[in-house]
Symmetry: C2
Subunit: 231 residues, 2 copies
């Protein structure tokens, strides 16, 4: 699997699907912070080769942005509190386009931490646990490259309903045809696993001439924001 893509813009864009985490094994009476950051997977820049549906290395990474940590707003809560709920992190984290990133979750004991701040890297050592889930790696883009990913996001993100096949430019007959010929299971929440299981082949039928892979000159791109959704 090649992971999903995330659109980034100047104004900031939510990540979809969202990072969702459940915590176990904490000391119920101890106080903890929980924080999140997103780190580069490697120091490469990528380009997408349409005809092979693959991301290819296209040079070295842009100069790194100062690391940014998102501290969960419920932070400094007891282990008891944290373990009772599923977390939906939210925040603003600056990323470079056309790079691969890995979101991480940090659980930090209060008695250890030294002044947790959004602008300082998460401390490391005893009392700090960091978790990375490989299936949540994604590539930043300013426009989707892989049509299968576009399709999944449109089908599963409620805010993109306007782009679904059903409900837009369909006549009575089309609606009936969709019901049978192009039927897809009911909408459910999109998860990162959906991209892990995704086939690498795209079903595009628009007659475009395949392009040859080339080592394009990596153009420097301005850093942009990516937000993960609230709720």
């Amino acid at each position: 699997d090649i992971g999903t893509e995330m659109i980034i813009t100047k104004a900031g864009r939510r990540m979809f699907p969202a990072m969702r985490v459940k915590i176990a094994g904490l000391d119920p009476h101890q106080q903890y912070y929980i924080a999140m950051d997103i780190v580069p997977v490697d120091n490469k820049r990528y380009r997408y080769v349409y005809h092979s549906s693959k991301w290819m290395v296209a040079g070295n990474a842009d100069s790194p942005v100062p690391p940014r940590v998102y501290i969960h707003p419920d932070s400094l809560a007891s282990g008891d509190t944290w373990m009772r709920q599923v977390l939906d992190d939210q925040g603003h984290i600056i990323l470079h386009s056309m790079h691969k990133y890995q979101p991480r979750v940090h659980v930090i004991r209060k008695d250890f931490s030294s002044e947790l701040s959004p602008n300082k890297p998460v401390p490391s050592g005893e009392g700090v646990k960091t978790f990375s889930f490989p299936e949540t790696v994604f590539t930043t883009v300013t426009a989707y490259q892989n049509q299968q990913i576009t399709r999944l996001k449109i089908d599963r993100n409620p805010f993109a309903k306007g782009f679904r096949d059903s409900g837009r430019n369909r006549t009575g007959l089309e609606a009936i045809m969709e019901t049978y010929a192009f039927w897809r299971p009911p909408v459910r929440t999109l998860t990162f696993e959906d991209f892990t299981n995704m086939q690498k082949q795209q079903g595009g039928s628009t007659g475009t001439s395949p392009t040859t892979s080339s080592t394009g000159t990596p153009s420097p791109s301005g850093a942009a924001h990516l937000l993960s959704p609230s709720c």
Copy 2:
């Protein structure tokens, strides 16, 4: 002046206008909490007498609800931080209908406070300063009693635009007539001062027979929520 009215419902309703506060005189390097609560003005229940446009005492207050404190989400910030911004508090506070209430703002030095909690009354003594602005007293209702207040809220609250005279059931002629005959100044934010300056006479022209003031039996009302707006 008689203060404004605030609608309360089971699901919770924002307060409009909102409580807005600017802080001065803090030690820039000291840490402070800022909190808000709403306390009864007296232990009376009220009823509105339409023909005299006045609120009359109608018995003793319902049994008080456990006090609830809203802690500003930026809390535990430096005096420097607090003084730099205007505060728009938000939260859930339970109130009885047909009572008069007074919102308060509390500024609490960190080194004094002993476990600030939404469910405990604000501590008092050295290191805690409480502010009450008499012009922000209001009466809770489940439906507006005074038509002037309804009018002001519709005119000034952007979410109530659908009930404004202009833009609803108006023909071309009506629109022109409004422009001249019923002209009112451009929309601006509603403040509590608008109610302080409000005339006690209502301009209602619907032919309703005036009711005589009576000592109505106070019906026990379920407690409901009032929220103050975010942003």
